[in-house]
Amino acid sequence: MIGAVARRAGSGLVVLWAAATAAYLALLAAPGDVVDSIIGDGADSPQIRAQIIAEWHLDRPAVVQYLDYLWRAAQGDLGRSYLLQRPVRDVIGDQLAPTVRLAVAAAVFGVVLALILAVVTRGRWARRVSSTAELVLVSTPPFLIGIVLLSVFSFRFGMFPVSGDRGWAALVLPAVTLGLPIAGVLTQVLRDGLDRALDEPFAVTARARGLTERSVLVRHGLRHSLLPAVSLLGWLFGALIGGSVIIEQVFGRPGLGQVTLQAVSGSDMPVVLAVVVLAAAAFVVVNTAADLAYLIIDPRLRRS
């Protein structure tokens, strides 16, 4: 198991390097002059340009810049934001916590809801209703869900704050909005996994022992249905990150999504780059976690 983790860490580093490099190449490929981006709406004069070039080391060969970038990235130094004129680390550092809070809350909500729905809606009608609802949730743009929730629960009933990141109450609606589609997908996967598991001969065997249907479900089925769900961890992570860009916009929350969006529309490549590298890092962690979860859930994968 330790070997597996070490191997994962190794390939994780490769992924990180690849992401950093790909993002860097993308940056080089981006049209437009870096100096222009940095100047933004500031004063523009040859001296200032020269100063910027010196400050950002834009005069050195691309290879040197690349190696320098990797070296600094390895040390956690992701450069300075063109747009905000602050170290990228600070920009992201400030905004990381709200996004993580949102993502965790949404993930917990989505997963718990999915588990409950998958286990509870076993009857024919419950299942039909639930699966229709899931289909709708999965197919509805998250911002529509968000807007509707916002107007009902915040504007109409004033139950939750309209916007921002002030306390737990402000987390409820965004987390629900982000979590609902996730719950939709997960419920489908879990239910399908349950159906499959409960059709397997070992489930029949378990019933033949006199187990109640509920025990068969909980003791045998659930764990099997977790396997396909775990393989969705990476997807879940992607959905959380991607979704938070939109959700943060809808709910006016601070966070990485806003930072990314701003950086994307302002061509603030150091920030975009950092977000990509950060996401790659998180991706590596999540996938390692998924692999470990597999090992925990499925003894067949463990090497004896």
Binding site: P201, F202, T205, G210
Partner: protein, 510 residues
């Protein structure tokens, strides 16, 4: 103990109704061993599962009389059934390899029965589990209890499954094809174990499609076909003089029939010398040499994983040997580029175990067979040779029955008039009755065309009936070879003897 009259089980599949069991009547007496035989899909499993109320959620079960343990179960609620299960009747499912939860330890599975029925208390359950495993002859029961199913061999798994079925101390044990997926040697051990259970007083309902298996154990036999019981009676009488044609067919399939009409072996068609195949750090085939002459049927037997298929692949030129050489029709067939093999490719054909995946799913039979024939040739005569009518020509493989598919595979293989056909377990996936037909067909083709066959099987009975010569493989090596009769009657190698002794034979047949 159990009385069933006019049992009908119907499945609802969408709008369709499938009548799996159509009016079956029988009863089981305390202490007897009743066998249920019949071909695949005849309704054996459904009948057996109905006895414990597990016919499935889509099933509708109706019966004139249906008493279990003296109680009418027709109005049973879920919890009434639960009380019966495990306690009154233990069920050993058909698919031993997947009937234990792969994510839980064997011990946990057995403990579950104890806990469900409140047998013993927390503290002494591990001991009970150990005892149960010992009862079914699992060595090192303490260690095995902590292992997961995938860590056990097929035989051990089946034993563990039996242990969990008897954990609740049931009076009736229902064993649905308890030996199907197992090697012959392991089969014998499991049958022995079941005989022991029976001797200890348990009532046994044994289900099998293999008459040879049941003949050793059963007091009475019920023969099912198409959801009905076509014949029943004490084992001895039934095997002695079956009235129903279907039963006779089953008996003859199990009893075997020598098909060989020896032809004088011709020149050497294929020749392998000192074949060795290494995958990673595992040597899968070691030093195998073999010669096949025209018109000869060579059997290749051995337990699962002994390297039979790998030898076939080497002969066929699908993989290159690590060392050694294959020659075919006097030319080098290994160590040369595929381009060099191509001109004589058609002279070497293959029939595999699973015909379905051997056909491009988008191709009709016409196209499949057409590919093997010279351009523009009519596929119909060749289909006639394998006993298929023109009506299958425009069907897709999926729309054929297993037997029909294998016939198409044979037709495709013989169409280019090959000098050698490699058959890798060509009948293992088929019903006994269909098996016999395909084997007849192959024997006929050898007789007509003088085509040589390399026939791979783990079923010694089949080899005995068909082959001229046999090679026995064990752990990648050929441990014994020679004419069938010689090998079967005077096996030199102890492994061969083990294999042979495990072959079920029809006991009590006339």
């Amino acid at each position: 103990m159990i009385e069933v009259e006019n049992l009908r089980v119907t499945f609802r599949l969408g709008k369709r109704q499938v009548e799996a069991v159509r009016g079956v009547s029988f009863d089981i007496e305390e202490g007897e061993c009743l066998a249920l035989v019949g071909e695949s899909g005849s309704g054996k499993s459904v009948t057996a599962r109905s006895l414990v109320g597990l016919a499935g959620p889509a099933a509708r079960v109706e019966a004139g009389t249906f008493t279990v343990d003296g109680r009418d179960v027709r109005g049973f609620a879920a919890r009434d059934w639960r009380r019966l299960r495990g306690r009154f009747a233990g069920l050993i499912l058909q698919d031993a390899l997947v009937s234990l939860d792969p994510l839980r330890t064997v011990g946990a599975e057995i403990t579950e029965v104890l806990r469900t029925h409140g047998i013993g208390d927390r503290g002494d359950r591990p001991d009970r589990v150990r005892q149960l495993l010992t009862d079914v002859h699992v060595p090192e029961p303490g260690r095995r209890a902590r292992q997961y199913p995938h860590q056990l061999s097929g035989g051990l798994r089946q034993r563990a499954l039996i242990a969990s079925a008897i954990a609740g101390g049931p009076r009736l044990l229902i064993a649905d094809e308890p030996t199907t997926a197992l090697d012959a040697t392991v089969q014998a051990q499991i049958l022995k174990l079941l005989a022991e259970r029976r001797a200890s007083g348990e009532t046994l309902l044994l289900i099998s499609h293999d008459l040879a298996v049941v003949s050793r154990l059963a007091d009475r036999v019920l023969v099912m076909k198409d959801g009905r019981i076509v014949e029943s009676g004490p084992t001895r009488t039934l095997l002695g003089g079956a009235g129903h044609a279907y039963t006779r067919e089953l008996i003859s399939a199990a009893g075997g029939r020598r098909r060989v009409t020896t032809t004088a072996p011709g020149e050497v068609v294929a020749e392998a010398t000192a074949l060795r195949k290494v995958y990673g750090d595992r040597t899968v085939v070691r030093d195998v040499g073999l010669t096949i002459r025209a018109g000869e049927i060579v059997g290749l037997v051995g337990e699962s994983g002994s390297g039979k298929t790998t030898v076939a692949q080497l002969l066929f030129g699908l993989t290159e040997p690590t060392s050694g050489r294959v020659r075919f029709e006097g030319r080098d067939f290994s160590g040369v580029p595929e381009r060099a093999r191509r001109p004589i490719r058609r002279r070497l054909q293959l029939i595999a175990q699973d015909p379905l995946s051997a056909f491009d799913p988008r191709w009709t039979v016409r196209r499949i067979v057409g590919e093997a024939l010279p351009r523009g040739a009519d596929p119909q005569p060749i289909l006639e040779r394998v006993g298929l009518g023109a009506d299958v020509l425009d069907r897709y493989p999926r729309q054929l029955s297993g037997g029909q598919r294998q016939r198409v595979a044979v037709a495709r293989a013989i169409a280019p008039r090959p000098s050698l056909i490699i058959c890798d377990e060509p009948v293992s996936a088929l019903d006994v009755s269909v098996q016999a037909q395909v084997l007849d067909l192959l024997a006929q083709i050898r007789a007509d065309d003088g085509t040589a066959l390399l026939f791979i099987s783990h079923d010694l009975g089949v080899i005995r009936d068909l082959a001229d010569r046999v090679l026995v493989m064990h752990d990648g090596r050929v441990v014994e070879q020679g004419p069938v009769r010689a090998v079967f009657e005077h096996a030199g190698h102890e492994y061969t003897r083990a294999l042979l002794s495990a072959v079920p034979t029809l006991e009590g047949a006339a």
